[in-house]
Amino acid sequence: MESLGVLLLYPVNAYLEQELDRRCRLYRFWESPRDEFLRAHAGAVRAVVGNANYGADAALIDALPALEIVASFSVGIDRVDLAKCRERGIRVTNTPDVLTDDVADLAVGLAIAVLRRIPQADRYVRAGLWKSRGDYTLTTRFSGKRVGIIGLGRIGQAVARRVEAFDCPVNYHQRTEQKSVYPNYTYYPTVVELASNSDVLVVACPLNASTRHIVSREVMEALGPKGVLINVGRGPHVDEPEMVAALADGRLGGAGLDVFEDEPNVPEALLGMDNVVLVPHVGSGTYETRKAMADLVLGNLEAHVLSKPLLTPVV
């Protein structure tokens, strides 16, 4: 695919960048001012590679007349204008499955970390406080807590399988109940009811127009003063200012957050809270998974160039 002009929107991964450079005609979007770049190279770009935070929006798509495919280095493609792509006949691929385990591992790891205050204990010891003050604080057991999952897709199911090993009853909400597929999980027709009946609420659905702020103030209050919110989806799934207020007031018991509305900015009020664990969008951030994601992006581009079926098409 040496003649394939690929526009990489951001240095998402060193291996991917190296391979694109070696096998395609690579353009790096961040190396020159946007307008200057587009004037010089817009006509040569046939493929765009972005990630969770950098996508092909309507304006960029309009500026690339030769664009044929958007291959996102992510599973979530809320930053890609899918309607515009459909209109222009542009293909879109993502990276499902290869990151499912990592995201599910992190979701459960965050839930334990919040309930058992693991980062807080680590900070306490490093600050010399165990020695000077002792440590008599009690936390609460994770096993057996009711886990509510918003979206029982690949990631949601992987979370469910893990928490079952901790004897956590599994509840879920999504557009349709699937009782025959999940006879052991309890379906709730609304997110508020799901939250009311759960101790840990995990966001595992795609971000689109109907799921923006799906975790509203009402949902967080239903989850309650002992409830814990785990967001490994997208920042905009949660009404972030409401969440910060609910945590500060004690109306929400705790949160484990991998994503934020305005990354890399984290609301300052969340820093230092004992009942909050914050990580910088590392849901798929392992070298094993990023390599697999990169290979999937390359595989999709190659299939496209060879006119073969795309590996993981969205559009």
Partner: protein, 320 residues
């Protein structure tokens, strides 16, 4: 009520000596049923009368203390570990010892899993990074390593180890173990006859066994070299299971890749060098520190005390 009747009421409650002040307190049931006296405050008559010693913490229970209690028949510990109790002295005197049984096991297992994920995925380090405002400054966080699929080796497949096994198996980790004896079929996990052999075949080594003379410093340099540069050690057992100075050297030299440590050889002292390492997660002996566990352990003590004084079989006696 006349003073003699009040005195008779007080004497009606069986006497229980307490080895140290308790951080966990007593349940209302316990306070209602027994008369608790701190061993250090006991007069000669009380010491001579005491048939039961309640051990509500980890301060040593020495042969010296045991020998000052001629009527002692039962030592009821709130903990599951008994390395702080002179078991030889108990054995010699025919004293029965009870521990917390399996009441702590779930929370210890959950914590071990939490530490595994926290070390491999750098959760605590990443949180610290964000707390210092570095995400905006430094950009993307360095990559960590996947938990699913890592080979997990558990040292001690007792009640804690088997719960750890079940949990990590659900993360897609193949699980192997070392125990004093191979578990009978159908045990789904691979047995290794030595800790070194287990370590050689593991990416993550979880210590969930008791500290005894046989297991003291069972994790030595040889075991850590077998675990290897990508390997991670998680200890929710006792600090004494690990050669701690050697552990620090192995982490510094990259002989092993990381560690999650809830226990240390000389708590609350933690080797200073560990405080600067970001491939370790440190914890203040908190694996049991949930309200549910403490309540469960107190109920176990309470149940053992009740059974003892009623002449019924004890709930969680330990074989000495």
């Amino acid at each position: 009520m006349t003073p003699s009747a009040a005195g008779a009421d007080a004497k009606a409650k069986p006497l229980v000596l307490v080895s140290q002040p308790s951080d966990s307190g007593l349940t209302p049931v316990m306070e209602g049923q027994f008369r608790f006296v701190l061993a250090a405050d006991a007069d000669a008559a009380t010491a001579a009368e005491a048939r039961v010693l309640f051990v509500p913490g980890l301060r040593p229970v020495t042969a010296d203390l045991i020998d000052r209690l001629p009527a002692l028949e039962l030592v009821a510990a709130i903990s599951v570990g008994l390395d702080h109790v002179d078991l030889d002295a108990c054995r010699r005197r025919g004293i029965t010892v009870t521990n917390a049984g399996a009441t702590f096991s779930v929370d210890i297992a959950d914590y071990a899993v939490g530490l595994v994920v926290a070390v491999l995925r750098r959760v605590a380090a990443a949180d610290a990074h964000l707390q210092r405002g570095r995400w905006a400054m430094d950009g993307d966080y360095p990559l960590a390593t996947k938990v699913s699929g890592k080979r997990v080796g558990i040292v001690g497949l007792g009640s804690i180890g088997s719960l750890v096994a079940r949990r990590l198996a659900a993360f897609g980790c193949p699980v192997a173990y070392h125990s004093r004896t191979r578990k009978p079929a159908p045990c789904p996990y691979t047995f290794f006859p030595t800790v070194r052999a287990l370590a050689a075949d593991s990416d993550v080594l979880v210590l969930a066994c008791a500290l005894t003379e046989e297991t003291r410093r069972v994790v030595d340099r040889e075991v850590m070299e077998a675990l290897g540069a990508g390997g991670v050690l998680v200890n929710v057992g006792r600090g004494g299971l690990v050669d701690e100075p050697e552990l620090v050297r192995c982490l510094r030299e990259g002989v092993i890749g990381g560690a999650g440590l809830d226990v240390f050889e000389n708590e609350p002292d933690v080797p200073a060098e560990l405080l600067d390492m970001d491939n370790v997660v440190l914890s203040s002996h908190k694996a049991v520190a949930t309200a549910e566990s403490i309540r469960g352990a107190l109920d176990a003590v309470s149940g053992n005390l009740e059974a003892f004084f009623a002449g019924r079989p004890l709930l969680s006696p330990v074989s000495l």
